[in-house]
Subunit: 170 residues, 2 copies
């Protein structure tokens, strides 16, 4: 019997997780974002069984995150390139990297992000492009978007309620 | 036989993933960041089997992401609160939300982040706090940190190499 997984209520977090699957897929995307394109590169760096790697690459291809391109006909060889959707996964990886470095690296940092121009280590932080403020600021709240299901609308206020509260507070 | 998972090479991305486990744990953290603290709240909102929920909460407690606090002795009832480590998971959740909204919400956005003061929808973007530039800028590269293993040092240049390249380019 297949164990029942989380129900899709339209939540974007779950939708994202469903595309990626498991830790192996995260690590394949990590290596692809780092420049790997060939089966052998992935396999060597991840120390992963070929059948598992091949299944995960197929799933990432089907989910539209990676694209298979033939680079040799004799023998048949393919490369795997990130699509725009796959490249857009980068902030998630950087957020995982920052969290891991902060909390699970008692021996010190193993991988960091560096600004090539200055040689300085970057400090990843998530901000709102509109206001420029860090999203950790309590001024930010979750709201039900235009396509929210009944279940999500029961849980979060609509955007219009924030606008009304703002008008009322004037 | 337990399937062989990824080897811990010190990579912070994998370290982070190992703390969280699976989609259920992500969703429990999502709800905890949204304010849920009680077993019944998690269960109702996630539509999750009690034994699975209970196991995941225990694992999150053991990983130091959540903290169990007794709020009633008769009958015995506990609340689950995020620790600092758990609260620091927020940027990962926000990055997953942004990615899901951009790529996997063909019917429109279901959950969004709103600025309470302005009522405007936030646009999450990951930047470097030091330079203020978006981390999607190609100026940023991954580097081996001070605690990098042999395997990671083979894969990424050390921070000092970026500094030397910068000196050489002057």
């Amino acid at each position: 019997m297949k164990r029942k997984g989380p129900t899709d209520t339209g939540c974007p977090v779950l939708r994202s997780l469903k595309q990626v699957g498991d830790a192996w897929s995260f690590l394949i995307l990590r290596d692809a974002l780092g420049g790997s394109t060939r089966f052998d590169d992935f396999q060597r760096n991840l120390d992963i069984a070929p059948n598992i790697l091949s299944g995960r690459l197929k799933a990432l291809d089907e989910a539209g995150l990676m694209e298979r391109r033939r680079y040799s006909d004799h023998p048949p060889r393919d490369e795997y390139h990130l699509t725009e959707r796959g490249r857009d996964f980068r902030p998630i990886m950087q957020a995982l990297l920052a969290w891991g470095n902060r909390h699970f690296a008692p021996e010190g940092e193993s991988v960091v992000i560096v600004n090539r121009e200055t040689g300085r280590q970057a400090e990843p932080v998530m901000i709102d492009r509109v206001s420029g403020r860090p999203l950790s600021d309590p001024v930010f709240a979750q709201a039900a978007g235009p396509a929210a299901s009944e279940r999500i609308r029961r849980r979060y206020p609509a955007i219009s309620e924030f606008l009304q509260a703002r008008e009322a507070g004037r």
